[in-house]
């Protein structure tokens, strides 16, 4: 199963400018691991020391924040879109 991952502007220096990637994986964690294999620098920008998401990184699956699903254990359907966005906004 493969998912399309959208990379935010702030992290594109770590992807050689790529704005998205197609990665294999059945869960959010597996997709992210696949992404980190392709772009090693992304790991420390997105994942914390315990392998979870950094607090100011949001990952959305089909528009829903995965923190309100099953976190990185959330199942990813084939062809789904994952969006990574920094949680730095608002007044």
């Amino acid at each position: 199963m493969a998912a399309r991952v959208k990379i935010p502007t702030q992290l594109r220096a770590a992807t050689g400018g790529a704005s998205e990637a197609t990665v294999e994986g059945g869960t959010v964690g597996e997709v992210l691991d696949g992404l980190f294999e392709e772009f090693g620098e992304l790991r420390e920008r997105i994942a914390d020391e315990q392998g979870g998401l950094r607090r100011f990184v949001n990952v959305y699956l089909g528009g829903e924040d995965i923190r309100f699903l099953d976190g990185i254990a959330t199942s990813v359907p084939d062809g789904a879109e994952l969006t990574i966005l920094p949680a730095v906004a608002g007044g």
Partner: protein
Amino acid sequence: MRGNYDDVNRLCTELSAEHDDWAFVNINMRPYYSEGSKTVAYEIAEQLGWELPDRVIVPIASGSLFTKINKGFREWIELGLVSGREPVMNGAQATGCAPVANAFAAGQDFCQPVKPSTIAKSLSIGNPADGPYVLELARRTGGSVDAVSDDQIRAGIALLAETTGIFTETAGGVTVAVLAELARRGDIDPDERVVLLITGDGLKTLDAVRGSFKAREIDPTVDAFDLAFETVAA
């Protein structure tokens, strides 16, 4: 746009990535917007005759305003433009979106994201970027971060309107309600000089207070006006 403040922020973050020559005030221009918030602190000190308040109560969405107001006060203390200690900082949230107040109450240094559900839509950020800094600052200055219900928010809006003539949107109601809560708890000395940040106009959130205020319709005559005016004044 259908959705809440979080949804708007998310869309704007995505759009700012697609259009690198577009500027969103509180997304890709946020560092400037945030630093600009310091001028609120400058104006408070200026309007108090170049003195600092004892306490400031600030509504919290992302937490940006809260932290930058404190920064503004500290900068002016360092420059010698004002003297005294930095004001106590109290943060105000709605219970329907209280990630920072929850973390403060639980003694945590970071916030657990929430899904907002409150009439205080301008404060409805479920994962506040500056939450950890707000927590540190509230604790360091001897303040707190409190949350109030939607009913308390409506009562806060009414209290401010009736006592000052200022009609605020829901965020201002949150701030006034937290002041009332602090007073009820005895956390405020009656001699303190307290500044409330009323950050938006009531006409923005009329739906939230519909039914809270009594409307008086009159004929277009001086007599009708005088009668209504006397009734209200009494």
